[in-house]
Symmetry: C2
Subunit: 360 residues, 2 copies
């Protein structure tokens, strides 16, 4: 027969059963050296027999640390997890967090409010990814005194950040196409998650920086990027397909496509093929990210590589330096990008009509 109230045993229960004080029980778990060896082991035996485990929340309260780091995303988690980019990023985050003995807690808008979600989150620090510096939550988090590292957002002085050389990578991508004779370029950007802000791309944001890189290369070659040839799409294969189809239907006939994400690039690849275009003979496509799967597409995707896992690792390490050592110098980490040339890009078709002709 069990007790009729299978209440979770508390430290006081163990203390009573073992005939010692609560303090002694606490010591038995946390600093056994402050107890006689046999007392400590007796207490532990009693604890085991009672099925006692220190209540993690109570422990957090007194120790003022949760051994958890928060991963904050302005989008709903459901859309995040379906994105391979985040998969790789979280891989890096998890690797570094596990190495430090920290668990991961995901913070995403709770009933529409990121602020509310933050209020409920019990974390020692936060890695925010894709959160614009203008987002009001940034101030809230800083005011709350929670260490924060921002990834892929417009740089805020005085704030630890991790990002990559977006502009340089984009420039390399555009130069690559231009060097092969492409002059008619279509740029496909990533649509910001919030419809309201879609109109104005933050110039300091990731997409703004990439756009600047594309433009710089075009400008240097005397190529004009007309507004019509810059479109945006959700960062997904479907999004890329739809964007290319819209551009094609509206009469655009690019020989080269610069996509700001691999998922979009893969969608463009497929949509182009659906239109009867050969890749790379009729049209070249260059992505951005270099996801794992990008080497397995058909043809393999030419893209700008960024060290996604490393980005996650760096963010956590930077956060740890703030959390644990209360490092007073906020650091800004910028990682390298590099162009990876595979099969989806090639010389521009010789005569312009060739491309037009294949249209069904």
């Amino acid at each position: 027969m069990e007790e009729r109230t299978p209440r979770r045993p508390r430290i006081a229960d163990v203390a009573r059963e073992a005939g010692v004080s609560k303090t002694a029980v606490s010591f038995a778990f946390n600093s056994p050296d402050r107890l006689a060896p046999e007392t400590a082991s007796r207490i532990r035996d009693v604890a085991v027999s009672l099925g006692y485990r220190p209540h993690p929340v109570a422990r957090m309260l007194t120790q003022r640390r949760t051994m958890t780091i928060g991963v904050l995303t302005p989008q709903a988690l459901a859309v995040i997890f379906s994105n391979p980019f985040f998969g790789a990023f979280f891989e890096g985050v998890a690797l570094a967090a596990e190495a430090e003995g920290y668990a991961l807690h995901f913070i995403s808008p709770l009933r529409g409010s990121l602020a509310r979600a933050m209020d409920h989150a019990t974390v020692d620090g936060v890695v925010a990814v894709g959160l614009s510096a203008r987002h009001p939550e940034v101030e809230q988090i800083r005011a709350a005194g929670v260490p924060l590292v921002m990834v892929d957002s417009s740089a805020l002085p005085d704030q630890p950040t991790v990002d990559i050389d977006d502009e340089g990578g984009a420039r390399a991508a555009a130069q690559h196409l231009i060097a092969m004779g492409h002059t008619d370029l279509l740029i496909v950007g990533v649509e910001p998650p919030f419809p309201g802000t879609a109109a104005q791309l933050e110039p300091d944001g990731v997409m703004g920086r990439r756009l600047r890189g594309y433009r710089a290369a075009a400008l240097a070659a005397g190529i004009e990027i007309v507004p019509a040839s810059f479109v945006v799409a959700p960062a997904s294969i479907d999004g890329g397909m739809a964007a290319f189809r819209r551009a094609w239907t509206s009469g655009l006939r690019p020989t080269g496509v610069l996509a700001m994400s691999d998922a979009i690039a893969v969608g463009v690849l497929r949509a182009a093929r659906d239109e009867g275009l050969r890749v790379p003979e009729d049209i070249s496509v260059v992505g951005f990210d270099d996801l794992d799967l990008s080497q397995f597409t058909d043809p393999p995707l030419t893209t700008v590589h960024q060290p996604i896992r490393l980005k996650g690792e760096s963010a956590v390490r930077l956060l740890m330096s703030v959390v644990e050592r209360r490092d007073p110098f906020p650091q800004q980490v910028r990682l390298e990008t590099r162009l990876v040339i595979r099969g989806s890009s090639g010389p521009a078709p010789q005569r312009r009509q060739e491309v037009a002709r294949v249209r069904r």
Copy 2:
């Protein structure tokens, strides 16, 4: 000039500043109707001016709920996040959790110990995925009184579980190949994450059930599955490539491959092509899972569809029914699978030599 000690304001600070009791402050936040409207709003004003936010850990302690659900995986998170299957699964989990207002906390082995990680996790319930029922942690969690839903594990009576019709799906896959004349089949299973347990596949586990399905179809057609034609590989593209290469090098010449995961199937696809085989003319490949990307492979992958997102959603909903309503009936949810025929499978080659000849 700020105060020299920017300590986080506590409820007592607000109470003093507003000239009321702690209780009143608590009421102002949690049950304003118990206060005169003007008192409540005055307290809130003071709280805002002080930058006060209720400490989430303290709140958890008294309310005895964390509004967080734990997602437990026996593997390290870093390996989980790189796997598209889990991406889709978490998508479903996140969707349902967010709808209920719960946040997500990932529980994975902490310094090698799942038990330790559980001890530190502050969650109201746990969704465990791929955790064998034999795992000692299962008992620990149940003993701790934390509601638990197990996904894709060998069913434990008296325990809420979510799984799919693995056996039926596998049978359909094998029947499909057999109906098209395939008799030389290679089965590639998923390697259990822990090397030690690799040898004995749990017969009740997911892989055991799928194997049973394949076998049942073969048996019904009078086809023998020799032990040599059952191999295992890590659930990744590379794993699938390596497994197929090993099988091929060891002299196996299957015309049909049954892979227990799409990632493995994609790897097999590529490795087969590298050997100079045409898919599906020379060799057919059938996967399992129907990941999003499987419709975009070349050729598109024939595979057993399972509702991965729904699986995640169902697990959380089942968990919620236990957490919130203390539902006394543990339910077992079993979801359907179905074969999706795409381009990677076709009739077996007519003459056996055809396949042998193409070898380089």
